[in-house]
Symmetry: C2
Subunit: 102 residues, 2 copies
Amino acid sequence: MNTAADFQAEILSAIAHPNRIRILEKIRYGINCNCEIAPALGMEQSNLSRHLKILVKSGILRSWKEGLRTNYDIADKRIYRLLDIAADIAKAKLEKQTEVFA
Amino acid sequence: MNTAADFQAEILSAIAHPNRIRILEKIRYGINCNCEIAPALGMEQSNLSRHLKILVKSGILRSWKEGLRTNYDIADKRIYRLLDIAADIAKAKLEKQTEVFA
DNA sequence: TGAGAATATGAGCAAGCACTCATATAGATT
DNA sequence: AATCTATATGAGTGCTTGCTCATATTCTCA
């Protein structure tokens, strides 16, 4: 049986990878084709393709074909809120660690 | 070298596990000792201990000893915002999936 | 129709993760 | 001091993940 925690964990673990976060940031700023993301991030084509698949499968991205290209966009904008909060938390954590040297 | 995405991923992957989410919910509602969480969640003691360690190490929880007990609380309340948003996203996703049968 | 371009997928591998059982440690109680 | 209680950790195991290289698929255009 699946509880709320399972669903939350599914979403979160789909996002919780540096490369996938970088991908989401690219898409956030309008780069929405596989072929543009790969060089922008210096990722192997097949690796990128698999990461994108994970994001689509988990419902975070939507994708559609346009000729040869596959385009992506975000399925739920709240994902970006999530990323922003994670960034804030990480920043606060770093500042606290650095305090010692002030 | 560590980029923002690495730090965000660190936070998110510390949270992205059903048991750790359940643990955080217990702590959110005032159960803050190891010895109360274990039975509440039906988790093996050593397993719980390791999950708590992950949460502390990543800076999400703080811990302190009080006699035999180890107590925990949240280090940054924004973690709960994160969990709430993840729940909202998961809920919207489920509703969309169910729409088909309406 | 045949070459080329963009994406997807099979296979294999190394590393990491979650879990359990058994044992160690640290503090409390008699 | 001996025992008990709460927590932590060592060791072992099976599963999952992320990555790469090679190959397949799908569509385009000369």
